[in-house]
């Protein structure tokens, strides 16, 4: 390990040497939670070697931004400018950029080019910048591959649209367009002809200086290898992965199996050899991912791309194999060779080994496209998913069925749509032009008896996979026949009629192939009662418990198996576990010490509304349990998390967070209880049914959770306590709605319980839009009521995060939204401590909160949301669980709320902890991170439905500084080239006048749409008026496309259709052309006032590192 020694002896004095680790920033599509996993392992690995870690990452909700004596955290944008400032202040000896995704890698390349690394003597510890450039630049890469005789798809780099056209002619359509230097396939797509090429190439060229036109390999197999290499040139492949979906769908949007299933030894080794050859030729140090296209009918292959860094795939590979890739990669970067590093999972083997799997894992992406109005649901070369799950099984159907349940959170899983009647035409359409639900369409075709060959022709999915699906359908059909033949009419009787006679062997046929009890119940009942069966989760759940009892009577239960990287060749102390029916004997388990044990339920897949912050909570809970001499057992199924790391808990079950599976594990472990309040809504939803099944829950009682969750009960409690709330109604018909809107007026917030299409929540500003929405998008009936509530305009929104103990608040923090109410709290900009609230408002709010906490008898973490207008407060909701703001408020105030909450749940009484927010040395601002660039067709506007995919949180000397940092971290920076304003409402225009005036002083040209321009002229601000999108001449669209503006303010007004459409076009174009976009006037004003008040001279001097939490 000479490098480590050099590092330790370099620089001045005996101080501990520092390694700078770059994070990836806020979670966005294509760059998500996987980098919290990798960064956190890297930090662990570095600190273990006696070095200090300095982390730059504005993502406050991550585990890697937890400061400690050895880990200094800077919540700053990961850009060359800020990283340089941190380097200047900290003077680290080395830098690691491979753990922070494309963001960190791009930053490293820039730092190197600017000579900053050389200037401050910071050693790049991983792959050299030249190799990174070769791996990123397709031309250089192709040339390099030709040198080592590795085939690359015919590809031509183009700098202009004309060049692109010529290239496509030369290669021949269909072609694929890709933007160089882009993450997650941004700006890429397939073109079948010149028209499509034009449509794709133009915006792609705006995102990147160069695009690539390549031969399309649609239908080829897509196979990836994860490769690790040390400075000695020792190279191993950690595993390979095969995409269920053939080439054509971005690998981040593909269903992926590990290891490959349809490859022979020859194919496996040819691609393995190629990966090793490529990685050696690039002189990679650390981890690297290589993607290949493999012909479905020969040994031909092409290398598609390599990522010379940790990636989403490496996180998946790490969880698939149990091999701690990021941890080992960091060691390798410090100069250790793979032969001298122990594999911490086995303790006896060395890190220079290729994991052997005796199970299969299936990853399914989580899309959440229904959350976005207007987005195309088709999948292609641009990634759209926001999260993923991984399931482990001993056969493909078992793993796949688990994964489908994990990702959909439907107990009936793959059989969910088995009664849905789609026309054959629709099904073929969905199979040929894949969408997020293609798997279900394939199942539907198989249920209709369509041959595998035909489905293969249309989908190009390998027939082996299709046959595996058919095996599932065949078993479904068996159960359908048995159920249909039952003459009994009562639901319970039907279940008994069908399943009473099942032998252990029969049960096993179903369970081995991954059928859940709820799935069996729903197939049975749906096929017995057909249309007459009114689908109800409660009924299915009840029937599933009968099934569970019947099957347990026959001794049919799952066994625990271990992931140990050696497929059982060596005994392993690993406690990384899964359950399967593909075995008869529990694995040799390492017993836990005789201490109390708690099971923590994780958050499941990341999605809109549930993200890394809940993983932070679960990890915090686990750490607190272990620190206080409890055993911690975690159940989670998200491979991008730190909670599923092999050493975050004492036992990890990589499993479904479902009633059936949690009960299975509960019965195996007999713990003190289950912690269900630290993983967000997924575990929270299970609380009642778990309690009914006799499970002991730690913390809030099920009654408390129910009291907060059940809208009627909660509303009644507020009435009883005399606390106001926006008026609402649970309407079952249109008359009720009419009466209600006559009473409260408009606007109203509409939340149907059954949504036909589009987003679930909507604001209706008048009768017409309400009627339109209800007619077109929602079903309304006594089974499917619609909640309509008063939508309070012009109010402040305030959050209170806290921990209660036996009905008393023991700690809490007030967070104030920068935007007025109406922006979903997950998309809002939040500041702690509150800046502009009346003391009286805070007093009222705390009083109400105490009353609610007492009324619900809360005993654990909670979050409340309030509206305040002219010193009057109203309660919107109370969550009897940790909220997404927990890490933010914990880190800003320095009080670890996750830890306090866990101690309460362990039955300790930490007593009242008073933290005076007004005595904080800094101010914290949390801002939402959006991924609109990846969701073409979506209106990039803030509204009542959450749309952000991540968040950042920064601290500053004052509100302004923190706000600027947070917004810069979400890529919003002040206008330099020009500003476009299109401020709909009069009030908004007026408010902006002073800002416009001061901007003019700074010589930033201002453009405005006609109405706004006229208004500004009247108020003495000279601006350039530009026409609406449908007007000839220099209209607003041309302006944005021309690159004359880099900041767009568009405040929507809810009036004329033309303006609505035009507004959306402006916003979408602004996003597509990389402008900073703001659509909320309070945010605009705060931002520009911050820009003006923060003197450029002091901004960013004396950076603040995050103080550790207590």
């Amino acid at each position: 390990m000479p490098l480590l020694e050099i590092l330790k002896s370099s620089g001045a004095g005996n101080a501990r040497k520092k390694i700078l680790i770059l994070g990836s920033g806020g979670l966005s599509i294509g760059q998500a939670g996987e980098f919290d996993y990798s960064g956190t392992q890297a930090i662990k690995s570095v600190v273990e070697q006696g070095l200090d870690a300095v982390v730059i990452n504005p993502n406050i909700a991550t585990v890697q931004t937890n400061p400690s004596p050895q880990v200094k955290v800077y919540l700053y944008p990961v850009t060359p400018e800020w990283v340089e400032k941190v380097i200047k202040q900290e003077r680290p000896q080395g830098i690691m950029a491979a753990f922070g995704g494309q963001t960190a890698l791009n930053c490293l390349v820039a730092l190197d080019k600017k000579g900053i690394l050389a200037e401050y003597g910071v050693e790049n510890l991983a792959t050299c910048v030249r190799s990174l450039e070769v791996s990123e630049d397709r031309d250089l890469f192709a040339a390099q591959m030709r040198k080592i005789a590795i085939p690359v798809p015919p590809s031509i780099a183009c700098n202009t649209i004309e060049e692109a056209r010529k290239a496509a002619e030369e290669i021949g359509y269909p072609v694929i367009i890709r933007a160089a230097y882009a993450l997650g396939g941004l700006g890429s797509g397939f073109a079948d002809n010149e028209d499509e090429l034009n449509k794709l190439a133009r915006p792609a060229l705006s995102l990147a200086p160069q695009i690539l036109v390549e031969k399309s390999l649609k239908g080829w197999k897509e196979v990836e290898y994860e490769v690790m290499r040390d400075r000695q040139g020792n190279t191993i492949t950690i595993c390979n992965m095969e995409n269920f979906d053939p080439l054509g769908i971005h690998t981040g949007d593909s269903i992926v199996v590990c290891p490959s299933q349809s490859l022979s030894d020859d194919e496996y080794q040819i691609l393995r050899n190629a990966s090793i050859k490529i990685i050696n030729s690039l002189d990679v140090v650390g981890e690297c991912n290589a993607q290949f296209a493999l012909s479905p009918d020969s040994l031909d292959f092409y290398v598609i791309e390599v990522n010379a860094r940790l990636s989403r795939s490496s996180a998946l590979a790490s969880k698939s194999t149990g091999y701690p890739i990021a941890y080992i990669a960091a060691k390798v970067m410090l100069g250790f060779d793979l032969l001298e590093i122990r594999n911490p999972v086995t303790g006896v083997t060395c890190a220079f080994t290729e994991p052997a799997l005796d199970y299969i894992t299936v990853k399914i992406p989580r899309w959440d496209l229904t959350k976005f109005q207007g987005v195309s649901r088709s999948l292609g070369s641009t990634m759209k998913s926001v999260g993923e799950v991984m399931a482990i099984g001993r056969n493909f159907p078992e793993a796949l069925q688990k994964a489908v349940r994990m990702v959909t959170e439907l107990g009936s899983g793959l059989s969910h749509e088995f009664t849905t009647q789609h026309s054959l035409e629709q099904l073929w359409g969905a199979i040929q032009n894949p969408t997020d639900t293609r798997l279900f369409s394939v199942m539907a075709c198989l249920r209709r008896g369509i041959a595998i060959n035909e489905i293969h022709e249309k989908s190009r999915i390998d027939k082996w996979f299709l046959n595996q699906l058919k095996v599932i359908v065949d078993l479904e059909n068996l159960l359908v026949k048995e159920s249909e033949s039952s003459a009994v009419a009562n639901i319970d009787d039907v279940v008994h009629y069908v399943f009473d006679h099942y032998t252990a062997e029969k049960w096993l046929r179903f369970k081995l192939l991954g059928f859940s009890d709820e799935q069996l119940a729903s197939i049975c009942l749906a096929s017995r009662f057909k249309e007459a069966f009114s689908w109800s989760d409660a009924l299915i759940k009840k029937a599933s418990l009968v099934i569970r009892a019947l099957r347990k009577d026959k001794g049919v239960t799952p066994v625990v198996k271990k992931i140990d990287t050696t497929a059982g060749e060596y005994p392993s102390p690993s406690n990384y576990l899964y359950l399967t029916y593909g075995g008869t004997v529990h694995d040799e388990l390492t017993p836990l010490p005789p201490k109390p044990t708690a099971i923590i339920l994780g958050c499941g897949p990341y999605r809109i509304g549930t993200s890394v912050e809940f993983d932070w909570c679960a990890v915090g809970a686990s750490q607190t349990l272990r620190k206080n001499s409890w055993n911690s057992v975690i159940i989670n199924c998200n491979p991008e998390t730190v909670s599923t790391d092999y050493n975050t808990s004492d036992k990890l079950y990589f499993e479904e967070i479902s009633l059936e599976r949690v009960l299975d594990i509960y019965e195996l472990e007999s713990p003190q209880g289950i912690i269900a309040s630290m993983g967000g809504q997924t575990p929270n939803k299970l609380v009642i049914s778990l309690a009914e099944a006799g499970v002991k829950l730690l913390g809030h009682s099920p009654a408390s959770v129910d009291g907060a969750e059940d809208r009627n009960k909660f509303s009644a409690l507020l009435d009883q306590l005399g606390i106001s709330q926006p008026r609402w109604i649970n309407a079952v018909n249109k008359d009720e709605i009419e009466d209600f809107t006559n009473l409260v007026g408009f606007p109203v917030l509409v939340r149907p319980s059954y949504v036909l299409s589009g987003a679930a929540m909507r604001v209706a500003y008048d009768k017409v839009s309400l009627a339109n929405f209800l007619d077109a998008a929602a079903k309304i009936s006594s089974d499917h009521p619609v909640v309509i509530s008063e939508f309070v305009e012009g109010a402040r929104e305030i959050e209170l995060d806290g921990v209660a103990h036996n009905g008393k608040i023991i700690c809490s923090v007030v967070g104030e939204h920068v935007e007025n109410a109406g922006v979903h709290s997950g998309d809002a900009t939040v500041v702690v401590p509150a800046q502009k609230l009346y003391v009286e408002t805070v007093r009222q709010l705390k009083k109400a909160a105490s009353a609610i906490v007492k009324g619900l008898d809360l005993n654990g973490p909670f979050n409340m949301q309030f509206l305040a207008r002219s010193n009057h407060i109203m309660v919107i909701e109370c969550n009897a669980r940790a909220a997404r703001t927990f890490p933010f408020v914990s880190k800003v105030t320095g009080l670890d709320f996750a830890s306090v909450a866990t101690q309460v749940m362990m039955g300790r009484s930490p007593g009242i902890i008073s933290r005076k927010e007004d005595e904080l040395p800094h101010v914290g601002v949390k801002a939402a991170m959006f991924s609109f660039t990846r969701l073409p067709g979506v209106d990039p506007i803030l509204g009542v439905e959450m749309a952000s995919t991540g968040e950042v949180g920064c601290i500053g000397q004052n509100f302004e500084e923190a706000l600027l940092l947070a917004l810069e971290s979400t890529h919003i920076v002040g206008p330099k080239k020009g500003l476009l304003v299109s401020a709909g409402p009069e009030a908004a225009k007026l408010k902006f006048v002073p800002v416009a005036k001061s901007l003019q002083k700074n010589n930033v040209p201002i453009y405005a749409t006609p109405g706004t321009a006229a208004f500004f002229e009247e108020h003495g601000v000279a601006v350039v008026s530009v026409g609406w999108p449908d007007e000839p001449g220099l209209n607003v669209m041309e302006l944005i496309r021309s690159g004359k503006v880099d900041f767009v303010i568009n405040i929507p007004k809810n009036s004329k259709r033309r303006e609505l459409t035009a507004g959306m076009q402006i916003r979408q174009t602004a996003i597509n052309y990389g402008c900073s976009l703001m659509t909320n006037m309070e945010k605009v004003l705060s931002f520009f006032s911050a820009l003006e008040n923060t003197s450029a001279k002091h901004y960013g001097e004396g950076l603040i590192s995050l103080p550790p939490m207590i």
Binding site: P259, S262, S264, E569
Partner: protein, 373 residues
């Protein structure tokens, strides 16, 4: 119609499973492999003679079985390591009755039937591997009938033992059963290699031919004095290296000469015995595609394919010889090298098939030492 059968271990444990392949009795040493691909290579590897293989990877047979040319003189194509299945039986968690791979002509079941090899499916293979590991490669027997009573797939129960019915390949010299019976010449290359067939894997021949050699494949008991070659390759093979008849003493004569020698796997062990080393049966062998070996005196490692149950003891290596490779996990000897003469041998399989091909340079290095004809 599904058939059932049972696996009986010589400690009395019995496991039942679905029977595919040939419905016959079979017995042998219980071994396991953790390779995730390459089942057709594994099953046709002569080194598995007399062994029942438990496959750790639970899904076997996914990509079917490739075509084998009927001409017995032809070079066998990749995918097979010999003309027939040498393993005594196979134990799987799950098979794949339907196969679709472009290079496949039949499913595992039919192929096993053709070669008269039984296979049990649906067992808890991970448990069996741990058992095999702890019992240190017990003997086992596949019975083509279901055990008495109402049993579930994979269930285990005790059984009245009949010890005589267990075949132990370690008990006798197995080379006469797997070595070729007559001398055969392949290729017309510049260098002439005599390949001593102790159960040779065909990829050794394919690789030698690729490096422009003429290969004379000679039966294990050929009088080596009658062979004209510029170098010797002692092949892999099954069984106890000490139980190989007069081969060791024949190899002793080769060592007195200067013509290059390469030993692979059993060939390595035989060479070691010939120079006076000692061998020993391992608790459980190395049978996988992920064995790390380190090139001695360097920080360089290779991932290798392995299949052996005996090892060479380090203390016994004579003076003129060096340890060439060691296993990076358990530090056992993985190869030796003569200090001055072109003699070397490795415990792992540089010819791979199946498994990683990181050490194929050993064969090319060996060929490079050979004098042209």
């Amino acid at each position: 119609m599904e058939k059932f059968g049972s696996l009986i271990l010589n400690n009395g444990d019995v496991f039942s499973g679905r029977l595919i392949g040939a419905p016959v009795h079979s017995s042998g040493e219980m071994v396991f492999t953790t390779g995730m691909v390459g089942y057709s290579e594994t099953l046709t590897d002569p080194s598995y003679f007399g062994q029942i293989i438990i496959f750790a990877y639970p899904l076997i047979g996914n990509y079917g079985i490739p075509t084998l040319p009927e001409d017995p003189g032809a070079i066998i194509p990749a995918g097979f390591e010999s003309r027939s299945i040498h393993a005594a039986g196979a134990i799987l968690a799950m098979d794949s009755p339907e196969v679709y791979h472009w290079n496949s002509i039949e499913a595992l079941d039919l192929w096993l039937k053709k070669f008269g090899v039984p296979c049990l499916v649906g067992l808890d293979t991970r448990h069996l591997i741990q058992l095999t590991r702890d019992l240190k490669s017990p003997l086992g027997r596949i019975e083509p009938k279901e055990p008495e009573g109402n049993r579930r797939l994979g269930d285990s129960f005790s059984f009245e033992l009949d010890k005589e019915h267990f075949f132990d390949p370690g008990d006798f010299n197995v080379l006469p059963y797997i070595s070729s019976h007559s001398r055969k010449i392949y290729g017309k290359g510049k260098r002439r290699v005599a390949l001593i067939d102790c159960g040779v894997k065909w990829n050794i021949i394919r690789q030698l031919l690729a490096f422009d050699c003429e290969v004379e494949l000679i039966p294990w008991d050929t009088d080596l004095k009658t062979v004209d070659a510029s170098g010797w390759l002692i092949s892999n093979g099954p069984g106890d290296p000490e139980n190989t008849g007069n081969l060791i003493s024949q190899v002793k004569n080769l060592v007195d000469d200067v013509r290059p020698i390469l030993g692979i796997c059993l060939g390595h062990q035989i060479l070691c015995l010939a120079i006076g080393c000692k061998t020993q049966k391992m608790a459980f062998g190395h049978r996988s595609h992920n064995q790390p070996v380190q090139l001695c005196g360097t920080r360089k490692g290779f991932i290798t394919s392995q299949n052996h149950g005996y090892m060479v003891l380090e203390d016994s290596i004579p003076n003129e010889w060096d340890t060439w490779f060691i296993n990076a996990n358990d530090k056992t000897i993985e190869g030796i090298k003569h200090r001055s003469k072109p003699f070397f041998s490795c415990q792992f399989h540089p010819e791979a098939a199946g498994g990683p091909r990181d050490t194929d340079w050993i064969i090319s290095d060996f060929v490079a030492c050979l004098k042209d004809r």
